[in-house]
């Protein structure tokens, strides 16, 4: 299978060590709000990191809680993958990676009920959000979870609700 790169004059590979928000938005075609600093190099994190109501958890942290329900991995396409949209509907957390370097699946079971995806990347991948900006994910396997809070309205065992920012 051949994957066509987007028609940018000189596409910056996502694996470049000094990726800035400006590079990332140009490269991915996704945009962030104007007030976020665009020229600072985006840190690449190989541990636990959060972006708003999402958290990227190294799989080693949650091997007992989170399991794959199928081997149905999918490659993250050049356009990226929307992992979650915000409450207002317009602000997605999007995972972007160079084609052929990162795969993902939603086929996960989480005893906490919070996992929405598992990702496995062999090169640096990025999570981008219009309000939160960008963050780099070092090679490895991770679980992406949503944030919850106690539902203060309801008694009983299902007393939590998801956070949507």
């Amino acid at each position: 299978m051949t994957t066509t790169m987007p028609a940018t004059p000189t596409p910056t590979p996502l694996t470049t060590p000094t990726m800035t928000l400006a590079d990332l938005t140009r490269r991915s075609g996704l945009d962030v709000l104007d007030h976020l600093e665009r020229q600072v190099t985006i840190p690449v994190v190989d541990g636990l990191q959060a972006q708003g109501d999402l958290i990227v958890v190294p799989y080693a942290f949650v091997t007992r809680a989170v399991t794959l329900t199928s081997g149905n991995w999918r490659e993250v396409p050049a356009a990226g993958v929307e992992l979650l949209r915000s409450a207002a509907g317009g602000n997605p957390h999007t995972l972007v990676a160079d084609p052929g370097t990162c795969r993902w699946t939603r086929q996960v079971r989480d005893t906490m009920g919070l996992a929405i995806a598992m990702i496995e990347t062999s090169a640096v991948a990025y999570l981008i959000h219009p309000e939160h900006g960008g963050t780099g994910i070092a090679p490895g396997r991770y679980v992406v979870r949503r944030q919850r809070e106690r539902d203060t309205e309801r008694m009983g065992w299902r007393g939590d609700r998801m956070i949507a920012d």
Binding site: V45, L48, Q49, R148, D151, T152
Partner: protein, 403 residues
């Protein structure tokens, strides 16, 4: 038909269904003057179907204005709920509004037969949580997909998120009947459902059913709520303003009422409905949210909306919440996590409040703070923050970065 052409026909139907659903939603959300001649003609035709003479029309600017007329005139708008002894012997003796309702009841039965199922389903039914386009390729039958994109989506928007709030504002939830309200543009959810089935060639209706449906569709396209009475019909104008935002996780264009600098719905007589992210709130939440009013409020969503309006830290200071502990937020340098005890009057179950700070900066240069409710047994803010992501405090303490 080969599977491939079946799929492409499905995709074509789905695209058309989405377009029609958008049109019906736009009618339901329309905030422009009624098309009075069209609406009146449709009502006259409905009256004719039950052998009633054309009524006199009374146009008013809002449902609230209409209801005061309807409630003051029990002869023209008699109660339509009967019990045992006062049940008229023959349908001809029924009040006009009940006869019309009966007509539409029969219509819907006929349309459901033609469609093959009803628009409303049992409590077992759950919406598909995947986009319709994907559902189509995984083999979900086209009627189920059309129902999701049209009937369910319009029901969520027009019935649950718009009509319900206007109704709550204009009609007390206790007390007598309203003499049978018809919802005009807000009936578009079920009318649109049957209309789309017919226009996609998925159902064929009897001629009389199709004609009656067309009259109701005309009303949904042309006017607000209306109340048919004996010889007189009260017609309410549509709102002059309707403000919405997309529903969270909306896959099919669902929206809810929202406006934070004024009423989400306004009628020409200045009847207002305030709504924050879909929550119907009293005017004080918008104009004067105070701790006293927040604690006196019984509805938790209203309390939450009011707190978010004044800001969590302001609320905590004014409500004098008891501080339990503070620690640094791992991964969010310079920011702290604060844990508070919450009075039972605020939440109906024991819980604590974790005040957190957003990792990313707002357009005005500040970092937004917000409160999360956490189980009452936490004394350590870091452990409480970890819990919100299903992690232990030890793991959460290793948070490297927050944006």
């Amino acid at each position: 038909m080969t599977p491939v052409s079946a799929l492409s026909q499905g995709a074509h139907r789905l695209a058309l269904a989405r377009r029609l659903s958008d049109e019906w939603r736009a009618h339901g959300l329309a905030a422009r003057p009624a098309d009075r001649p069209a609406a009146e003609a449709a009502v006259v035709a409905l009256y004719r179907l039950i052998d009633a003479p054309a009524p006199e029309f009374v146009w008013v600017p809002s449902p609230t204005a209409a209801l005061s007329i309807v409630h003051d005139d029990p002869h023209t708008f008699p109660p339509v709920h009967f019990q045992g002894a006062n049940l008229p012997k023959y349908p001809e003796g029924w009040p006009l509004a009940a006869q019309l309702a009966n007509l539409v009841q029969d219509l819907r039965r006929g349309l459901d037969r033609a469609v093959g199922h009803g628009v409303s389903r049992g409590s077992w039914w759950r919406p598909l949580a995947i986009p319709a386009e994907r559902a189509l390729t995984t083999g979900v039958a086209i009627p189920a997909i059309i129902d999701m994109v049209v009937g369910d989506a319009l029901y969520a928007t027009l019935h649950n998120c718009v009509r319900a709030l206007i109704r709550a504002e204009s009609m007390p939830t206790t007390g007598g009947t309203d003499g049978m309200t018809w919802y005009g543009q807000h009936d578009a959810h079920w009318i649109g459902h049957y209309d789309v089935y017919a226009r996609l060639g998925l159902a064929q209706y009897r001629r009389s059913d199709a004609e009656l449906l067309a009259l109701l569709a005309e009303l949904a396209r042309s006017t607000g709520w209306w109340w048919p009475g004996e010889g007189r019909c009260v017609m309410a104008e549509r709102p002059t303003e309707v403000h919405t935002e997309p529903l969270p996780d909306a896959l099919n264009g669902e929206v809810r009422l929202h406006r934070d600098d004024g009423p989400a719905v306004r009628f020409a007589d200045d009847t207002q409905v305030h709504a924050l992210h879909g929550t119907h709130v009293p005017t004080w939440v918008m104009t004067d949210p105070s701790v006293e009013r927040i604690h006196a409020e019984r509805n938790i969503e209203v309390r939450r909306s009011a707190i978010e309006r004044i800001g969590w830290d302001t609320y905590i200071a004014q409500a004098r919440l008891r501080h339990i502990a503070t620690s640094g937020d791992p991964g969010n340098p310079g920011s702290a996590l604060h844990l508070y005890d919450v009075p039972r009057e605020l939440w109906s179950r024991p819980a604590r409040l974790l005040l957190v700070v957003n990792g990313s900066v707002e357009p005005d240069g500040t970092h937004r703070r917000y409160g999360l409710s956490v189980p009452a047994h936490f004394d350590d803010p870091v452990a409480a923050a970890g819990w919100t992501y299903g992690l232990s405090g030890e793991h959460y303490a290793r948070l490297a970065r927050r944006t």
